[in-house]
């Protein structure tokens, strides 16, 4: 066993995903199978090999340091808010 339920619980906490007991059991099994399958990568000799950081790593261009962000009206953005008050998104209280 590469991972047990305790580790699955820890990963779920890191990923901020609430899982049921049933899900913890299932994912522990799945993850073990998948990670076992990945073990074969250890056969590959990667000494002196640089990790890939980007597929376009040789083709990056210089550009002017200006933003090309698009402008979206505040109202339009707020339309998608699951909960809001006036022009603000609301969340549960974080400061006591």
């Amino acid at each position: 066993m590469l991972i047990d339920e305790k580790i699955t619980r820890k990963i779920a906490t890191l990923a901020k995903i609430d899982l049921s007991e049933q899900e913890i059991k299932e994912y522990t099994k799945d993850l073990n199978n998948i990670l076992k399958w990945m073990e074969e990568l250890k056969e590959v000799d990667v000494s002196n090999i640089k990790p890939v950081t980007s597929i376009t790593e040789n083709k990056l261009y210089e550009r002017d340091d200006i933003s090309h962000a698009i402008y979206v009206e505040q109202e339009k953005v707020l339309l998608n808010a699951p909960d809001k008050v006036g022009d603000y998104f609301t969340v549960p209280k974080v400061i006591e």
Partner: protein, 491 residues
């Protein structure tokens, strides 16, 4: 023209220009067609009102003001943000999300005159190979004969591939991360093209794995594919990974044949257990190319077998970062259950909002990036990825194109592989290596399986050589003359 919906795009454009058909008539014909396809669950949202409005505008235009794709109805995978429309990537966490802006690719197509007629269903966040993780239910392949045993259209772009098989649009859009255009194209008997990484802007496409995601078209034939792709690619200041490399003219040499081209046949793709009908199709492809004057060369891509596990480390790792944004604060679903604090709100929202496969991949991704495991999994996988890229670099020193099957099977029954994630992942065995290397590749229909389902051939090209890729595909297509159509009866 008796059945304009089955015509090539260039002939549809001609028919509209000659006023044999109005754009409004064309759009209405497609609307009627799409409505008849409801039972296949291909469509996430119908955009008919807007499409008819655009059609009327197109019809009112003077001849000289007409755009190159004026009035051409298209279907768009629900992963592309289209302003003002629901865009949910088939996930409950984005169920009611209305995109406040437009993706660069769909904007380019709109600027060229295309009309979006509907959005299509897919695997949730493009994570899947059977379009069976969609929040609106399973997508069904129009090649299904017996509805008690529905076939998958493949995935993740299953809705877009299926709608082309059923002639429900002039072309459709998909995205391909590890095979999500090519495998469904194979299963549905249509052409599906994944261009070189960096050709199409990813701006406004809901991100899955940013170093792999690429947009591409589904079409009825290769020439339509060349036309669609021409209007999709661009350098985009809003996506720094797009390329400034000029797209070659895809039509210039399209019909020049393959005489003198060197075609690589990678021995590692001849895997144990692949059905003989797929090997036969592969041989048929080789023979056609040989007959047309191409030189067939055996090549070796020694790290092929490591591509899948490498992909299933890198893609989930990138996904776990990309999908961190779904927190129930600014948009999308927020848990309706009671929560004590912000952290609990995040956890419940994500636990309830994401589907089973997405959660599985987020857990894998989080694990391989977590402290203590990063070097052993993620960093190692990125090194193996370089080995895979080097394999292709070496091969392309000697050859022009690579020929392989697209998928290791024909369309399977929905639910057949759902319980075993690894057997589902193996669907992408022939498509993932070129994805990891960012290479352009396509699938074109090659034959029918013994079960009466389409099988695709895959061509892989060198970086930025889409012209050669399409030229090879066109030559094969003319010889194969794939004329089979799904059993839609009177639809």
């Amino acid at each position: 023209m008796t059945n304009i919906m089955n015509a090539d795009i260039k002939n549809i454009i001609k028919a509209i220009a000659n006023k044999e058909y109005s754009v409004e008539e064309l759009v209405n014909d497609f609307i009627k067609k799409i409505d008849k396809l409801d039972k296949f669950n291909l469509v996430s949202e119908k955009l008919y009102d807007e499409a008819i409005l655009q059609a009327k505008k197109a019809d009112a235009k003077k001849k000289e003001d007409r755009l190159p794709l004026e009035g051409i109805p298209i279907a768009v995978k629900d992963i592309f943000c289209t302003e003002g429309n629901k865009t949910s990537a088939s996930s409950n966490i984005l169920k009611n999300f209305k995109a406040p802006y437009e993706s660069t690719v769909t904007q380019s197509l709109k600027n060229a005159g295309a009309i979006i007629i509907c959005k299509t269903n897919m695997d949730e966040f493009a994570m899947g190979s059977a379009s069976d993780t969609c929040n609106l239910g399973n997508v069904i392949n129009p090649w299904t004969k017996d509805f008690s045993k529905p076939l998958t259209p493949g995935g993740s772009s299953g809705g877009s591939a299926g709608i082309m098989a059923a002639s429900g649009a002039c072309f459709s859009l998909g995205t391909d991360t590890g095979g999500s255009i090519r495998q469904p194209a194979s299963f549905c008997g249509v052409v599906g093209i994944k261009p070189t990484y960096g050709r199409c802007s990813r701006f406004g496409i809901i991100a899955f794995a940013s170093s792999l995601d690429q947009a591409g078209p589904f079409t009825k034939n290769v020439e339509d594919g060349a036309l669609a792709l021409t209007h999709m690619v661009s350098y985009d200041k809003k996506d720094s990974t797009t390329s400034m490399e000029k797209m070659p003219d895809l039509f210039k040499n399209l019909k020049n044949g393959v005489r003198g081209l060197k075609i690589g046949i990678p021995k590692q793709y001849d895997i144990e257990g692949i059905p003989s009908e797929i090997k036969d199709l592969w041989n048929k492809g080789k023979k056609i190319l040989e007959k047309l004057g191409a030189e067939i060369i055996d090549i070796s891509l020694p790290h092929t077998k490591y591509a899948l596990p490498t992909y299933y480390i890198i893609a989930p790792a990138e996904a776990s970062a990309n999908l961190a944004r779904y927190d129930g604060v600014k948009y999308g679903y927020r848990s309706k259950n009671k929560f004590e604090d912000l952290n609990e709100m995040y956890c419940k929202t994500r636990g309830e909002g994401f589907g089973k496969e997405v959660k599985r991949r987020l857990l894998i991704g989080t694990y391989v990036l977590s402290s203590g495991y990063y070097d052993a999994y993620y960093l190692h996988a990125q090194k193996v990825r370089r080995r895979i890229i080097e394999d292709f670099d070496n091969a392309f020193n000697k050859i022009d194109l690579i020929l392989t099957p697209t998928a290791p099977s024909d369309a399977f029954m929905i639910g057949e592989k759902t319980e075993d994630p690894i057997s589902m992942y193996l669907n992408d065995i022939f498509t993932v290596p070129s994805s990891l290397a960012g290479l352009p590749a396509l699938s074109l229909p090659g034959a029918m399986s013994d079960n009466g389902r389409p099988l695709g051939l895959q061509l892989i090209g060198n970086t930025f050589c889409e012209d050669l890729l399409l030229r090879g595909a066109y030559a094969i297509e003319q010889e194969i003359c794939f004329k089979n159509e799904p059993p839609l009866g009177n639809l």
